[in-house]
């Protein structure tokens, strides 16, 4: 793994105060996104994927509390920035966002052009809002809409979200995400509301555009199949902990962590005896100590409940947080 990281999340822990107590939603999450790569974050519901995304974007709910960790964007810790700075410099500009449901993500009462141009104008900053730059924004947006294969981009700007199909809306949102030349694009299950043929077209587009514009991408999903189609690298999460990270092929073909192994074995492409993983994910209100997977893990030992195992480098760029791999040498 190179030192050229766009984003590095280290040891992130976040708790959220609820009516029923404090939920430790993220316990310990490590994530590295190298420049120009597409990194998938995979996990089942309740693993903390969306909290991780919200933490990176700085839009955690009010009741949330960052307990520890860092989120470094090019060496700057986003957790130390004020909301004002995040709005001015980071969100939408350095880091942009492609939401899950294209049907709900565009404001229905504004035309597509109004919404996207507003973002560009705002991020262009004061003193750069003359007619000339306004024309410039418009030209760039038309160019982007063409790049995401929206027919008649000039006309499309004047149209309202309900006049587009789901796939087209997602294309518009992708254009919006690229509008301010971000370093990192975060895509939160951007295709889960779409049909497979449309999904593939969107995935292709994301792949092509990240290459073309030289941006990195964090791609959140629950679908290993999509990870296999799109991602260069993948990080697996379980109950608020990152358990394993590495190159996609490595993880899919040679998973190391017992959770990853069992999860992949549940996929109908990999199994014929459909047994699943025994037990259920513990509530973050009463999370198990140590490795949070230990109550369901067939290889669990006494130490597993004592402390979360630190990450071990197993192969080039492949890190596992499991005591099974805590040999005397490879311990980092």
């Amino acid at each position: 793994m190179s030192g050229d990281l766009v984003l590095a999340v280290g040891g992130l822990g976040i708790s959220i105060a609820t009516d029923d107590g404090v939920a430790r939603v993220l316990d310990h999450v490590d994530l590295r996104i190298p420049r120009g790569r597409i990194v998938g974050v995979v996990g089942e519901s309740g693993c903390g994927k969306s909290t991780l995304v919200r933490a990176i974007l700085g839009i955690l709910p009010r009741a949330a509390q960052v307990e520890r960790g860092t989120i470094l964007l090019g060496g700057e810790d986003l957790l130390h920035l004020s909301q004002r700075e995040l709005t001015r410099r980071i969100r939408g500009k350095e880091i942009s966002f492609i939401p899950q449901d294209p049907y709900l993500a565009l404001n229905p009462v504004f035309s597509v052009g109004t919404q996207l141009l507003e973002i560009m104008r705002w991020h262009a900053g004061a003193g750069d809002n003359g007619d000339a730059s306004r024309q410039g924004h418009r030209a760039r947006l038309v160019e982007l809409l063409r790049a995401v294969q929206i027919p008649d981009p000039e006309v499309a700007l004047e149209r309202y979200p309900h006049q587009f199909s789901g796939g087209q809306r997602q294309r518009v949102l992708i254009a919006g995400a690229l509008a301010c030349r971000p370093r990192l694009v975060i895509a939160d299950e951007p295709t889960s509301a779409l049909d497979v043929t449309t999904q593939l077209q969107i995935l292709r587009l994301l792949r092509d555009l990240t290459n073309r514009f030289g941006v990195s991408m964090l791609f959140v999903t629950h679908d290993f199949g999509v990870v296999a189609q799109l991602c260069d690298e993948v990080m697996v999460m379980y109950a608020g902990q990152s358990v394993e990270a590495g190159r996609t092929a490595e993880i899919l073909d040679r998973p190391r962590h017992p959770y990853t192994q069992m999860l992949i074995a549940c996929h109908p492409d990999r199994t014929h005896d459909l047994t699943g993983i025994p037990g259920t994910v513990a509530s973050p209100l009463a999370a198990p100590s140590g490795c949070r997977f230990h109550p369901r893990c067939p290889s669990a030992r006494a130490v597993c409940s004592a402390a979360r195992p630190s990450a071990v480098v197993e192969a080039a760029g492949h890190e596992v947080s499991c005591v099974l791999y805590h040999g005397p040498v490879s311990h980092v």
């Binding site: 043929t197 077209q201 292709r204 199949g225 799109l230 992949i264 996929h267 109908p268 699943g276 259920t280």
Partner: protein, 337 residues
């Protein structure tokens, strides 16, 4: 699986909606199911696959009888059960039950699990209170739930548990055919596996026959004996699962198979040309509905509607050019061996 046909559907058509209002925009009805014929064999799992809006759910609802067919016949065990009013249709088809996609929404939030299951029996006028209780307890055990769960309410259960509850509610009526509408949608991978396993166990235990509606090709390949591919209200290909996945004949099937995310490494995102999105069901193209997205379109496709024709034993395709295409090689991501 036997060869005995338990349910035969012939030329089924279902029109949805359609209204003409004073000064309002006219809304023509949508032909959600546009002439479907299929035979369900006893004890098999027949998959119905297609993208959203292809009419697969409407087909299921029409076969169940809560949606009235516009034309066509449905025969259950050789007995014609179509052409009836809504309540009569359901009475005649009580051997067919339906498992809803969204299990949480399929239960009345105000009713306890036990009462909800019992209601199915009460409506059908089954047995005394004690008898019903015995049947419910037996069924809960069969789907792997504690009897204590009966006093709980839907919002207190997990997705997997709710799926089991809805399964218990339809199976307690001892149906012979169950229509499963996306039975694992919204479930996590690990839960999906156990639910699929259970569904398969119940098939054997209660000698059921399933119509398995899904858009997830991995699941369908794993679960189904035969698969029907639907596009805009019609079946375009029907074949044994293995045949279909090994050598898809219809161009749409090929496109679908190539797009489906599979758990295999080394996939090439750009291997198969895919363009466009399905046309709106209110504006279906003439002739073959798929021609607007088909790379192999010829003049004939716009003029004539291709009908399902047998290719080899047990395999049917609705395409004017399947013969030409059979020679062409197919690339698709195959499951790992």
């Amino acid at each position: 699986m036997s060869e005995r046909v338990i349910l035969a559907v012939e030329g089924l058509e279902t029109l949805l909606g359609g209204e003409r209002r004073l000064l309002g925009r006219e809304r023509p009805p949508v032909r959600a199911v546009a002439g479907v014929s299929l035979a369900l064999r006893e004890n098999e799992i027949l998959g119905i696959v297609g993208e959203s809006g292809c009419g697969k759910s409407t087909l299921g609802r029409t076969i169940l009888g809560i949606q009235r067919e516009t034309t066509g016949t449905i025969r259950l065990d050789g007995r014609t059960v179509s052409g009836l009013g809504p309540r009569a249709a359901r009475r005649a088809r009580r051997d067919i039950q339906y498992l809803h996609q969204d299990a949480a929404a399929a239960l009345d939030p105000w009713w306890s699990i036990g009462r909800s299951i019992e209601e199915a029996l009460v409506i059908s006028g089954v047995g005394s209170r004690a008898e019903r209780k015995a049947r419910i307890d037996r069924m809960l055990a069969a789907v792997g739930l504690e009897p204590a769960l009966k006093r709980r309410y839907p919002h207190e259960l997990s997705g997997g548990q709710l799926r089991r509850v809805t399964l218990a509610r339809v199976l307690v009526l001892a149906p012979r055919i169950v229509i499963l509408d996306e039975p694992t949608s919204g479930l996590d991978l690990s839960v999906q596996a156990t639910v699929l396993g259970l569904i398969r166990e119940l098939l054997a235990e209660f000698r059921l026959t399933y119509l398995f509606i899904s858009h997830d090709l991995s699941v369908v390949e794993e679960m189904c004996d035969r698969v029907a591919i639907m596009y805009l209200g019609r079946i375009v290909e029907l074949a044994d699962t293995r045949q279909l996945f090994e050598a898809p004949a219809h161009p749409y099937t090929r496109m679908l198979l190539a797009s489906a995310p599979r758990l295999a490494t080394g996939q090439d995102l750009g291997a198969i040309p895919i363009h466009g999105e399905p046309p709106s069901p209110t504006a279906v193209p003439s002739g073959c509905a798929f021609r607007t997205r088909c790379p192999h379109e010829i003049a004939l496709c716009a003029d004539a509607l291709p009908t399902l024709e047998p290719v080899v034993h047990g395999r049917e395709v609705a395409c004017h050019r399947w013969r030409d295409l059979a020679a062409a090689p197919v690339t698709s991501a195959r499951r790992a061996p």
